[in-house]
């Protein structure tokens, strides 16, 4: 694989049952490209947590994925409420998710920590009332 592959997904708001479809699609494509399974899994988990976050907190958004021979970059952009305190949001167990989300198995305060854990680089740009853009990179080599 020498070319750069670009993928774009739209994450629909408030549709919890469909959350994860984009991550699932990326996972399938990476597998087919012959990317090592542990790398594929890191990308899938990091992106899936991001996708869930967009549905829970931000009315959906867009995900751009770029695959090069050396790394996979995911840019998750939303126009949601923004993150008030990034340091606090990065702590395991801290969550602002509503109770109904917890009954669905999320909102444990592990989303951002998991995204950081499974990506090799992560950057968060956020502005209250404007939105949040999370960029994550997973290295292939």
């Amino acid at each position: 694989m020498t070319d750069t592959i670009k993928l774009k997904y739209i994450v629909s708001p408030d549709d919890f049952t469909r959350a994860g479809e984009a991550s699932s699609d990326v996972k399938g494509k990476l597998k087919k490209m012959g990317i090592p399974p542990e790398i594929v899994r890191k990308v899938a988990i990091a992106m899936y947590e991001g996708e869930i976050n967009m549905v829970i907190h931000a009315n959906g958004g867009t995900i751009d994925v770029e695959i090069t021979p050396s790394e996979i970059t995911m840019v998750l952009a939303d126009t949601g409420p923004g993150i008030k305190d990034i340091e606090q949001a990065m702590q395991e167990g801290f969550s602002t998710a509503p109770d109904n989300v917890r009954s669905l198995g999320f909102g444990a305060g592990m989303g951002l920590p998991n995204m950081k854990k499974y990506s090799d680089e992560m950057d968060i740009q956020t502005q209250i009332g404007v939105g949040t853009t999370v960029t994550m990179k997973v290295y292939i080599k």
Partner: protein
């Protein structure tokens, strides 16, 4: 331990993936919080859960989990079962509660994975 062993130990019924029962399982996780499941990575795991929504299957898919056991006799919607079929994940349903089901598998030698 194979998925078929788990089915027998937990007196479970197979909801989908009958053809995959010979798959090996190395570790287990009993959890209703999917984010906690996602924090734990191990190859060839079984997930025991009381949660029945499509995100259980999505989580299993992302984690390469080979089998999901629904405890307390729960059975998810047909759409959830179909999603698991498409993804090649075995679904079992056991009448046992979470504690008992986990205890039996532990006694039979299955262990939890460690956070990597």
């Amino acid at each position: 331990m194979t998925v078929n062993d788990i089915k027998n130990y937990l007196e479970a019924t197979v909801l989908c993936g009958e053809e995959l029962l010979s798959h090996e399982v190395h570790t287990a996780c009993g959890c209703d919080m999917m984010s906690d499941v996602l924090a734990f990575v191990k190859d060839q795991s079984v997930l025991l859960t009381g949660l029945c929504n499509p995100q259980v299957i999505r989580t299993a898919e992302m984690m390469d989990i080979v089998c999901v056991v629904f405890v307390r006799g729960k059975v998810p919607d047909q759409s959830v079962i179909e999603l698991a079929c498409e993804r090649g994940i075995v679904l079992l349903s056991s009448k046992m509660g979470m504690f008992k089901a986990c205890g039996i598998l532990y006694e039979k030698g299955l262990r939890g994975g460690v956070n990597s």
